[in-house]
Symmetry: C2
Subunit: 176 residues, 2 copies
């Protein structure tokens, strides 16, 4: 019975989702997360532990809010992350005498040592991820991705918030 529904756009594109940048970005990112997760798990940490530790190492003593802004990690999550890092002896928190709302976060000697180990693990993850690309292509990819992530938020409701994206939103109208 080949009714061949007229309103059906007959398989002009094999898949809608596949073939979109949305889809590929999600997949590529997931793969990247897997590699980094897998590598950093060897050291017993997660990616944001690494990120925070790296920022603290590079920036010198900072506040939690500053780290969070730089990495775009939520303030709430920063608390737990720093609790972990402090418990492991990688960083040290103490109230900032100049502004007693703040915590001054410092990397410890043990933290510096560990960071080198973590660096190697992340580098390996990066290597695995980019293996299929030549070094020229890697630069291309980096450049294109940078353009996307540094572009102002393409959101008609709230023009220009370079980088920071939007809240989770409320709706849940038709499903679930």
């Amino acid at each position: 019975m080949d009714v061949s529904e007229s309103c059906e756009q007959q398989s002009h594109s094999a898949e809608r989702l596949r073939g979109t940048a949305l889809w590929f970005l999600g997949r590529a990112s997931l793969r990247a997360q897997h590699y980094t997760h897998e590598q950093l798990a060897k050291a017993g940490i997660r990616k944001w532990h690494y990120g925070v530790l790296a920022v603290v190492a590079e920036r010198g003593p900072t506040t939690q809010a500053a780290i969070g802004r730089r990495l775009r990690v939520d303030r709430s999550d920063m608390v737990a992350l720093l609790n972990d890092l402090e418990a492991a002896g990688y960083v040290h928190r103490e109230p900032d005498p100049a502004d007693r709302r703040r915590n001054s976060v410092t990397i410890t000697a043990e933290g510096k040592r560990a960071l080198k180990e973590f660096d190697a693990l992340v580098l390996e993850a990066e290597r695995m991820l980019l293996e299929p690309l030549s070094s020229k292509e890697r630069e291309q990819l980096l450049g294109l991705l940078e353009r996307i992530v540094t572009a102002p938020c393409a959101d008609r409701t709230d023009p220009a918030d370079p980088g920071g994206l939007h809240p989770r939103g409320q709706p849940k109208s038709r499903l679930s």
Copy 2:
């Protein structure tokens, strides 16, 4: 070799995490997720609702496992996703007479209508994401990402599993 500070690499690179493909991919993907989430929220669905509906529309009646394999969505989550879609009247599940383990999933007329609306929303998200790139650059990006996601899994423990990535792993040694 000099003792002292020689083992400290003093800020030769501004940031470790930023500047890596890992970081940029994560950021770009997050931005893509935000756009799609924001768009599809207007229709009250989430991205995997869209993905599943699209596959069902294109593939005709299929089984849940087949959809899951195609989209790399977990079998467990497929159940909930299809519950939502069925409750919304977009798809219809019925036991496959030929193999009674299976559910035959079919898109409804209402589902087809809705899918067109969702297509437009996703297209808009894609447009917002890729706005900063020229059409040539968009192709470049797509090509590079495709190379990455279709590459065999670069994992020395389990060579070659093109696409499917690895389990969550157990460890939790030093932190948390």
